[in-house]
């Protein structure tokens, strides 16, 4: 099913062309960049080995997209380096020949970040999958950037440690992709996002220089915090080849609960009550009726499908505290109007519930041919207002919207279930999206809480940031990548 996002959504329907293609043509016209040619391929094959350089159509068509379905473009070649040095070699070569480079992890991004430019070089890092070290003394973990997120946490778990960020895609997303998108997850409320766990990064700069930023020290004020610049940079400033992550002692106990509501308002009130009671649960996720129905349809775990809102709550830590907090949360849910509150029988059942929530987005794709996912985020206090607003927008424009999201941190994923072939309906979707973005910005929120700008949110960035910080960002890009070769056209256009 097509996942279309606002901004380029408008672009698509008006121009029938793909933004990355337009940008590329524009750059090519200005003779700023080249495409992959036979000569370049030969050099790549000499650098790596021929079987790690893909060029045939059958081989590269599957690299034309990421989790953002409608955006599609055919790269010139896809390469699989195994070491940081090989990445640096490839970038140096591309730099010399002025060939744009798009870095790719597992291609699960939801803003079009790893969608290639026509004829560009894609550097895919999934084969850089070595877990280098788990340092129990310093509570750090070092890995190549192609390691799968879940494998990071599994490795930590083996020695009683814990890597908290758990995006819905954790079974397949790469840690490099997580850092490049500063991904969040289901435990953000208590544990924060990817950025909070990055201590060091090995990065290949746009000119091919290999450098290390940060270290294993908890305290470090030697100069600018350069690693932070690369977290969330979406592959536009450098290629992350290795990471040093902070890990925590693994919580000894965890309790998962479900609260069912007949009104969204009651759910939102519960969340406020829990926070007001000075409890910080690790997870407060919510699914609305449509989403619950789709998830149940897929996972068949016995979720009730006649509720207005379902809230998944989780607390972890010391067993005694967990029991106490869980009891308190369940009482608060009841007191604030939950129709039913239940606790998972054991950790396995809890894990099943969380897994079902992780699949919410893909499960929504069952309903209609096109699924347009949003990522708006508002300050937590504005959450109920925002949910009510989304609801009214859906009613006003007669649209079907399934909403789910991270109640604890104000990050919502209203998801339009529509059909891209129905132009009249698509027009209403566009207007509705515009209204949701306006309201988000008015409430002091952001157009993307965790999925990144990529191509999808480009059109709204300036409006949210204002001229000053927008230009600051562009000047940083200009300083690091004067040729504009790393993931050009993502986040913002290079020139006006």
């Amino acid at each position: 099913m097509g996942v279309k996002r606002m901004g380029w959504l408008k672009f698509m329907t008006n121009n029938q062309t793909q933004p990355s293609l337009t940008l590329y043509n524009e750059l090519a016209r200005m003779r700023l960049v080249n495409t992959v040619d036979a000569n370049f391929i030969q050099s790549l094959q000499a650098l790596l080995s021929p079987e790690r350089v893909l060029t045939s159509v059958e081989d590269i068509i599957p690299y034309g997209f990421d989790g953002t379905a409608v955006l599609k473009q055919r790269p010139g070649a896809v390469v699989f380096p195994l070491t940081s040095e090989e990445v640096a070699d490839c970038v140096r070569l591309a730099c010399k020949r002025s060939v744009p480079v798009v870095t790719r992890g597992s291609g699960t991004g939801l803003s079009g970040g790893s969608v290639p430019l026509a004829g560009c070089l894609v550097i895919c890092l999934v084969k850089m999958d070595k877990l280098i070290e788990v340092d129990e003394k310093n509570l750090t973990l070092r890995a190549q950037s192609g390691v799968i997120t879940k494998e990071i946490d599994d490795a930590a778990a083996k020695v009683g440690l814990f890597y908290p960020p758990d995006p819905g895609s954790m079974k397949i997303s790469t840690i490099g992709g997580n850092v490049a998108e500063n991904s969040g997850g289901l435990r953000g409320l208590k544990y924060g996002v990817t950025r909070d766990y990055v201590m060091g990064l090995e990065v290949v700069l746009p000119d091919g220089t290999l450098t290390f930023l940060g270290n294993k020290c908890v305290k470090d004020v030697a100069g600018y915090s350069m690693k932070d610049l690369f977290i969330g940079s979406e592959g536009t400033l450098g290629i992350i080849t290795e990471v040093i992550l902070k890990v925590l002692p693994r919580p000894k106990a965890r309790k998962t609960m479900l609260a069912l509501y007949d009104s969204m308002d009651a759910a939102a009130k519960t969340i406020s009550a829990i926070i007001a009671a000075k409890i910080i649960p690790c997870t407060l996720e919510f699914l609305d009726r449509v989403t619950v129905q789709c998830v149940e349809d897929y996972a068949k775990i016995g979720l009730p499908t006649d509720v207005e809102a379902l809230v998944l709550m989780e607390t972890d830590g010391h067993p005694v505290v967990v029991e106490e907090e869980a009891a308190q949360m369940m009482a608060l849910a009841k007191a604030n109007g939950a129709r039913d509150v239940r606790a998972a029988a054991d950790e396995a059942e809890g894990a099943k519930l969380a897994a079902a929530r992780r699949n919410a987005f893909s499960a929504l794709a069952r309903v209609r041919p096109t699924t347009i996912l949003e990522d708006v985020t508002v300050p937590r206090s504005e959450l109920a207002t925002m949910v009510a607003f989304i609801d009214s927008v859906a009613k006003k424009h007669k649209l079907q919207i399934g909403t789910f999201g991270h109640l604890g941190d104000g990050n919502l994923h209203p998801t339009f279930l529509t059909n891209e072939l129905d132009h009249e309906e698509m027009h209403r979707v566009e207007v509705a999206l515009e209204e949701i973005v306006e309201e988000t910005i008015r409430l002091g929120g952001t157009v993307t809480g965790e999925h990144g700008v990529g191509l999808a949110k480009k059109a709204f960035l300036k409006r949210q940031l204002g001229e000053g910080s927008y230009e600051l960002m562009r000047s940083i890009k200009q300083a690091l990548d004067p040729q504009g070769l790393l993931n050009p056209g993502k986040i913002f256009d290079l020139r006006n």
Partner: protein, 435 residues
């Protein structure tokens, strides 16, 4: 005149259903092996969509890719968006066969002999079975091996020879009556599918199935000389032959008089349940096929549905582990029932097999067409079996049964010494009640 592309006549929404999320990638054995998108469900679907969109020609490379795919359907279980990969897979294989991109006399000949001749004619298949049985029972096979006779055959065939299943001493028709009734109080009336490989190599499992059904008050009707169910044909791009076999299969049962049609082979069952779709265009059979689909039940599924009786005696084993046939768990979503059957046997502990639903590499005739990848998967399975330390593994598909038995045989000291099936253990338990 060029034929119309099958992928283009397919309902486009089946291709569109994939929203590129990648959630299926970590469950796909071929992607996990190579980490290349082309070898993943998402990548394969993208290629098929490119064909439908007219952006890609049906090529040898596409064909190779579709034959590298195991058809294990693990992706279908993993996919939250409800992608019907089985249909895409079958259509794609039919597409590459129609396009004839695989020319090659030898491949063509063997495909023709197997799909168009042997597996279309039940009598011929059984005749071959008899010849093989004689060959094996007279010790001729060992002699031939000694004489290096197989050195004269094409290499790929010679390699296969040791994998030929041991042919059963008697076929199903010899040991199962056309109609068998329980002694006391009859419950349901069911038909039994004896399968082809199951019949040739494991007719005893068919017997066990009948015994278990009778022990649970079912009257069992077993038509003689049954045809192949056609799954082999559907999975190998011969949809027309598959339709022919489906019609024959339907005709061999008196549907209205039966409460269920029982299959005990995961791979067949998964295909048997889709006759409705296969024949949806057939004016004479469409309606019958729908009824057929609703009546086909995997034996474990049926046993749990009729609340089978728990045996009061054991099966003579204390520990068992369970390997899931792909088409039973991913194709038919029968996951808990075989485990319930095993767990019902007194004194038997079920030890969970790590990656129990990861393909063993048998995958129809994949072990013949892709021996290298098949071996890798078999090695992985054998290593996981070792971890359980269980002396016996149960599975419910003749392909898996043979593949795993081969794997264990070639691995010297393995704790797991026997491959069996859950119904066999249940039948044994019922039998020992009487002793």
């Amino acid at each position: 005149m060029p034929q119309a592309l099958l992928l283009q006549s397919l309902d486009y929404s089946v291709l569109q259903q994939c929203m590129h999320c990648g959630m299926c990638l970590p469950t796909c054995p071929t992607y996990v092996e190579t980490k290349m998108e082309k070898n993943s469900p998402r990548g394969r679907i993208a290629l098929l969509r490119a064909v439908a969109d007219g952006d890609l020609e049906v090529s040898k490379a596409l064909s190779d890719e579709m034959y590298y795919c195991l058809g294990c359907l693990a992706c279908q279980t993993a996919c939250p968006a409800g992608v019907n990969y089985a249909e895409l897979f079958e259509t794609a294989r039919a597409e590459v066969e129609q396009a004839n991109v695989n020319d090659g006399m030898q491949r063509g000949f063997w495909r023709w002999i197997t799909l168009n001749v042997i597996f279309m004619h039940p009598w011929l298949l059984r005749l071959i079975g008899r010849v093989l049985r004689m060959y094996q029972s007279t010790g001729l096979d060992k002699l031939m091996r000694k004489l290096r006779f197989f050195g004269l055959m094409p290499r790929s065939l010679a390699k296969l020879e040791p994998q030929t299943p041991q042919i059963a001493a008697q076929f199903s028709d010899d040991i199962i009556l056309p109609q068998e009734s329980p002694i006391a109080g009859q419950g349901s009336r069911v038909g039994l599918l004896t399968g082809c490989i199951q019949d040739l190599a494991f007719s005893n499992i068919n017997r066990d199935t009948v015994d278990v059904l009778i022990a649970n008050g079912c009257e069992v009707i077993t038509p003689r000389s049954q045809s192949c169910c056609g799954s082999l044909h559907a999975h190998n791009g011969e949809l027309e032959l598959a339709r022919e076999l489906a019609r024959r299969q339907i005709d061999s049962f008196d549907l209205d008089s039966l409460d269920a049609i029982i299959t005990n082979a995961g791979g067949c069952g998964s295909h048997l349940k889709t006759y409705g779709h296969l024949l949806h265009d057939d004016p004479l059979y469409a309606a019958k096929a729908k009824v057929w689909d609703s009546k086909v039940k995997d034996i474990h599924e049926w046993l749990v549905q009729i609340r089978f009786r728990k045996p009061t005696a054991g099966a003579g084993v204390s520990e068992v582990t369970y390997h899931e046939s792909c088409h039973l768990c991913h194709g038919q979503k029968v996951v808990s029932q075989p485990r319930q059957v095993l767990a019902s046997i007194p004194g038997l502990v079920l030890k969970e097999l790590p990656e129990s639903n990861w393909c063993c590499g048998s995958a129809g005739i994949y072990n013949i067409t892709q021996p290298e990848q098949s071996q890798k998967l078999l090695d992985r399975k054998v290593a996981n079996l070792k971890l359980t330390k269980a002396p016996i593994v149960a599975t419910s598909n003749p392909g898996c049964h043979l593949q795993i038995a081969n794997g264990l045989r070639s691995c010297g000291d393995h704790p797991c010494q026997e491959v069996t099936q859950p119904v066999t253990l249940l039948a044994r338990a019922y039998r020992s009640e009487r002793s």
